[in-house]
């Protein structure tokens, strides 16, 4: 066979939060498992492990994905951004700041996923309507807030990033 299969522990190299990163993992391990258990990036949360809660949202080559639905071996050569990699020049980004100011979190467990998803949204669409925000965030479950303050926080961050606030 022209190509050999990877088994046992595999070395994977990727860029994680801007840093060249290398790790060993088994092919079965998800990106979520590797981020949390091998790289110590526990900001990415596990809520369901089957793509239905969004707590494990990360950016993979700039695209929003559920890290529980990505095999870590697939990310060879990729750019991965987790919540730990979302930082502004002066610390918090407008999205993070507006989540705090608008009280858009209660228990805070879903918050990293929302921060990542909202960041991806505002990169793709700087002026989303309420409907578009709700549509984009529908894959991220929050059980505490009823989403009201989350939607408002995203609207506020969007306005700030557009230079309106």
């Amino acid at each position: 066979m022209a190509i050999s299969l990877m088994s046992g522990k595999v070395t994977v190299s990727a860029t994680v939060n801007g840093e060249p990163t290398e790790w060993l993992c088994e092919p079965r391990e998800t990106l979520l498992e590797v981020l949390r258990d091998r790289l110590g990036l526990t900001g990415t949360k596990e809520g369901c492990s089957n793509g239905n809660c969004g707590a494990c949202s990360v950016l993979l080559d700039g695209r929003l994905v559920n890290s529980c639905l990505v095999l870590a071996v697939e990310t060879e050569g990729a750019e991965i951004t987790t919540v730990e990699g979302i930082r502004g020049e002066k610390g918090l980004t407008p999205v993070q700041r507006s989540f705090l100011e608008e009280a858009a979190l209660q228990c805070g467990f879903c918050t990293p996923g929302f921060i990542v998803a909202a960041t991806a949204l505002l990169q793709a669409n700087p002026s989303p309507t309420e409907e578009q925000i709700r549509w984009w965030l529908a894959g991220n479950l929050c059980r505490c807030t009823g989403y009201d303050k989350i939607v408002r926080a995203v609207q506020k961050a969007a306005a700030e990033m557009r230079g309106e606030a």
Binding site: T42, C48, C53, G108, F109, C110, I115, D148
Partner: protein, 758 residues
Amino acid sequence: MTTEKQYRVIGTRPVRPDGVDKVTGRAVYGADVTLPRMIHGKILRSPHAHARIRGIDTREAERYPGVLAVVTAEDLPDVDVVLAVGEGGDVNMRDASHNIMASGKVLYQGHAVAAVAAVSPHVALEALKRIKVDYEPLPPVLDVRKAMAADAPLLHEDLFTDTMGQRSEHPSNIASHLIAEEGDIEQGFREASVVVEREFVTHTVHQGYIEPHAAVAEWRDDGQLTIWCSTQGAFSVREQVAQILKHPISQVKVVPTEIGGGFGGKISVYLEPVAALLSRKAGRPVKMVMDRAEVLAATGPTPGTYMKVKVGADAQGNITAAHAYLAFEAGAYPGSPIGAGCTTVFAPYRLKNVRIDGFDVLVNKPKSNAYRAPGATQAEFAAEVVMDEICEKLGMDPLEFRRKNGAKEGDWRPFGPPYTRIGAIECVEAAQASEHWKTPLVKEAGSSRRRGRGVASGYWMNWGGTSSCTGRLNPDGTVALLEGSTDIGGTRASIAMQFAEAFGIAYERVRPQVVDTDTVGYNDVTGGSRVTFGTGYAAYALAKQMQREIAAKLAAIWEVDPESVTVEGDRYSAGDKSVNLVEAANLISEQGQQVVTSVTTTPHNRSGAFATHIVDVEVDVETGKVEILRYTAVQDVGKAIHPSYVEGQMQGGVAQGIGWALNEEYIYDENGSLRNASLLDYRMPTALDIPMIETILVEVFNPDHPYGVRGVGEVPIVPPPAAISNAIYDAVGVRMTTLPISPARLCAEIMAKNSARA
């Protein structure tokens, strides 16, 4: 005391102290804890809803490479002690022990039968497959009414019905029958000109916190046990673990991590004692994390019910009599929130003739647990739908009816002293005055859509409980505030704000921390809507105590009578001497002294929180799907310490209530196997399912708290199911009496109505 007082801190909206960690991913939750040499535990669960365990063979699992410990119920001591477990009420620790590790019988699908600790979670899971359990399946009983039948299969052969202190002759699945009575309902129904009686069914629902249960335990060779876990009550975990393991409470330390939601479901222990046993056997720290299917199948959802409510009213719209029959599914062991269901069912109303019968009934489902206003949502759903029908028959405005019959200070309530100052009527009046209520609703919305509006009220009692705080005055005049109430929704902020207000300093100068059970005095659980009230009360008492201590120390330095030292904001003065807090801190520390103060308070909270909600829905009459168009929640919050987080509690409660009303339910097959144990098919609302939720905060001062605070967290989940059912009736003319009002159920009712008409 007056509500008109001007505050510096209370009522403002500062950023929460733990906020930055939570938006940057730095905050440490249960599953984020890692210790050196840590290994991983997993639980083997019963595939049967009801079966006798003939034997468990763990030998092959023990030999499996990488396995370090295996435990079963044999490793747990016999216990027989009743312990008050937060909102869960009094729990027999023998039941709690059997619930975390089945002994003799399995009583629900998902019941734990054995656990393994191994070098990785994957190895532990592989080892579980090698444990052989010999089951003798027994017929399961899954429906509350069937479980009450005399010939029903029994879950516990030694359980008898307790009817207000009387024990039944024969064993039964009915653990208790509560009765609350006032006046004469027969007479009351005779006085009525309209009487409505309906039956209701609700299904099991889950709290749905996004963080699965997680615990790490380290049992050292000297018997010192430390547990890191996500819990609503570190002290409650300490007590439960100590009782279940018969281990001295002084040797158990519980370190609460951040908690990713609880809503009543993270009070009982599930993993903690098992992780401790595995750690003791393996000699290594053990981490256990549930997956989502385990959370749904094997923690403590809140009960399904069968209910019957009958209400009579005279032609003027005065309620003359009310009767409720409430049967709640306790699950595998006694202890549904039936008492609270009885207390709340008619709570928003002034009643002269009333009878409430409540039944706590065992079924082959997981042991039920508290869920935000436990028992109230089901009971008040039934009552509030019946009240709506009374209004319809009387041709009376439903808010006017609620105002006219509204409960007031001094009115009777079941099992308790009469009401103190409450805001039931104020909430109804605020709803009547709301923009939402005053805006007419256009009912037609295209050929297949109809709109409707509904209202409902709700009540949840407040609990005071015990809270402790420790304050340490730093040399820079800031205060380290140590608390034991885990912060689920911003209570570090609401406690620090009350402390800052009382202590005369800025909010930013208080550094609140939630600490472990060795570091602060006892705290009851974060539950019962009590933390901002009860721990806030303790923080207030702490501030006053610290001021007295500072004054006393300054008096000694200044050689004046302590009584002569006055405190104004952060300034301490006596005669011509006057220092601010920073100067005072320095003076005191120059003497080689420190102000480190601890208080423990257990205030009465005889009050409670009322709410009235208004909802507009749009029904697709061809599919049965319901859209929430507009929602307004009015609530008596006593005093909003941090209004954003009060609004957030109201909005979050409404969202859970909407989920309960429309889509959430446990679906079991006939064998008692849970078919929808995932967040795909246990359908909690997404951002697309809920509109913006308008909030109206009514502030009726609570005389039991220095700032008038009422617990706000729980009552907002109560009115939504009834308000939505009433709105659906307004839209399409069918009374929905089963929860959830799923599209299939509503569609079937609409079609039945249409064919009856044709």
